[in-house]
């Protein structure tokens, strides 16, 4: 899932400067799970903003809405009545949601209330760790199910660097060394042989480096004719 954290309250208040009728928009998906932008967080943030508005005499009108998934037009379309009359939307969904709202409502400024961070998982309640590097060319089968691109601070592909000690990365004692984890995993799987072969330089084209990525599922793409037949907009 996508993991993010709300921006500090002060920063959000600065970003909202100059606006008055504000819609705080959350999402029930990833950001709800990482306790950053779900319905509950929308409620708390909205109340905090009202408190700030009252204390600072800003005269803000804060409204609230939470959608199922803020990245999908079907759901973002439904909040049109809530957008009516607003001069800003403070989105606490991930960056995708904030951009979807802006695209659908180009006349109302979409502002980010959340810093989107990474693709990861909750490893225990309240703790979320980055897991997938989104490189577009997965090699988990070679590394015992552990992503070397993002769990290794240097994205090494041929084993740990000289800074790996006691299972920790050189960047800090709280960071596990991914290659130690890969080694232990392959050992458990009886596949240490996978570490003998040298992996050649990676093709980064399918990663972020290659430019904004577009993936097409032709079986789902609709032609103009199909659109008309279906009565789709």
């Amino acid at each position: 899932m996508i993991i993010g954290e709300q921006k500090p309250l002060k920063e959000i208040c600065d970003i909202l400067e100059g606006h008055h009728r504000i819609l705080v928009a959350g999402c029930r998906s990833c950001v709800a799970i990482c306790l950053a932008g779900g319905e509950k967080e929308v409620g708390i943030l909205s109340e905090s903003l009202r408190l700030h508005s009252d204390l600072a005499g800003k005269g803000w009108e804060i409204d609230e809405v939470t959608v199922e998934r803020q990245c999908e037009n079907e759901w973002v379309r439904e909040i049109a009545p809530k957008i009516e009359g607003k001069d800003a939307v403070l989105s606490i969904a991930c960056g995708v949601g904030a951009q979807t709202i802006q695209a659908m409502y180009p006349k109302v400024r979409s502002l980010p209330g959340l810093n989107t961070s990474n693709m990861g998982a909750p490893i225990e309640p309240g703790i979320f760790m980055e897991r997938c590097g989104g490189c577009g060319d997965c090699v988990l089968h070679l590394t015992g199910g552990i992503c070397p691109i993002v769990r290794c601070a240097k994205s090494l592909l041929n084993g740990p660097c000289g800074g790996s000690q006691n299972g920790k990365c050189e960047i800090g004692k709280e960071t596990p060394c991914a290659w130690e984890e890969i080694y232990q995993s392959l050992k458990e799987l009886g596949r240490l042989d996978l570490l003998e072969a040298n992996i050649p330089p990676k093709d980064w084209t399918p990663s972020r480096s290659g430019g904004p990525r577009k993936i097409v599922r032709p079986e789902a793409v609709m032609s103009e004719t199909e659109r008309q037949l279906r009565g789709e907009r």
Binding site: N158, Q165, W179, P201
Partner: protein
């Protein structure tokens, strides 16, 4: 001969080699490099120039290498993967080679969070093993990684780093094997203080026959003070400093003398280990002590071979 460098000739002939390290200055003037070169001339067969060590911008390794060559010393250019992608890497190699550089050491490079510009974006397009593969292809096939032909192929003697003190221990010998397979002609190890662990590693290295595929230079670093010893022990990832050594430094009447003594003792012992083909002296912030250490270890004179 791959590059016919001084270092290569000495190692190939079976003589015990000595390399030392010089840290480039944070300056647009190469005066300090010339000064250190003069001080250290004749004390080693080749001199490593570090590459933005600990992720702090310093005069580039290649630029310093040119200065060294002007003074008659042989440089080993260190080239990390942190600050350059494969395009810049191959470009730097062509340039370095054109300027006379023969020895290049491939390494991953300290993470930028170590340095004074932590906000920088790192590169790590390739890792050190892939770097070896790329450089070897340039040398042996006369081609860039994508297959484009080079008008003139670089002559290179390729080095890599090895760390018997990092984890997982069992994998460290495999990693040396991978570097040998990728093209490493020689390796320099991380500074040795835990001789027992180093001997254990060498045993595994010999069992795999790796000591005959790649020249191993054992790394040593003279300790300047008790404080430095503690710092190395506690703050540097991938280094092991046994308590006995820390204690010696703590109790020493003259810590610097003790540091030199320990270093010379280590070198004496390392000379006797089968598979160790030389020593790499990293006198960080203390380069001027190298000539004395080499002399007391009975390794002078260092004539060009």
């Amino acid at each position: 001969m791959k590059a016919d460098s001084n270092l290569e000739r000495i190692l190939t002939s079976g003589k015990f080699a000595v390399t030392a390290e010089i840290g480039p200055p944070r300056s647009a003037s190469a005066d300090l490099v010339r000064k250190k070169a003069e001080e250290m001339k004749g004390s080693a067969d080749a001199f490593n120039l570090t590459d933005n060590q600990t992720a702090m911008s310093r005069m580039s390794s290649i630029a310093c290498a040119v200065v060294l060559m002007q003074q008659g010393l042989e440089p080993v250019v260190q080239m990390t993967c942190r600050d350059r992608n494969r395009i810049a890497m191959q470009s730097d190699v062509l340039g370095a080679s054109a300027l006379g550089v023969l020895d290049i050491l491939c390494l991953s490079g300290d993470h930028q969070s170590f340095g004074n510009m932590k906000e920088a974006k790192n590169v790590y397009d390739v890792d050190s093993i892939q770097e070896l593969m790329i450089l070897r292809k340039m040398r042996d096939e006369g081609k860039l990684w994508n297959g484009d032909e080079l008008d003139v192929a670089p002559k290179l003697f390729l080095g890599a780093a090895a760390n018997p003190f990092a984890d997982p221990f069992e994998f460290r010998v495999t990693r040396l094997g991978k570097k040998a397979a990728a093209g490493a002609d020689f390796v320099q190890t991380q500074s040795i203080y835990d001789m027992e662990r180093f001997e254990k590693w060498m045993g595994l290295v010999r069992a795999r026959g790796l000591h005959e595929r790649v020249h191993i230079l054992a790394g040593v670093m003279p300790l300047k003070s008790h404080k430095v010893a503690l710092y190395m022990k506690n703050k540097v990832s991938g280094m092991i400093v046994p308590d006995a050594i820390v204690e010696r430094m703590r109790n020493a009447k003259d810590p610097k003398e003790e540091g030199v003594l320990i270093c010379v003792e280590q070198i004496d012992h390392l000379k006797s280990i089968e598979g160790v083909h030389g020593v790499h002296i990293m006198a960080v912030n203390w380069e001027e002590i190298v000539p004395r250490i080499v002399s007391e270890a009975g390794l002078t004179p260092r004539n060009r071979y």
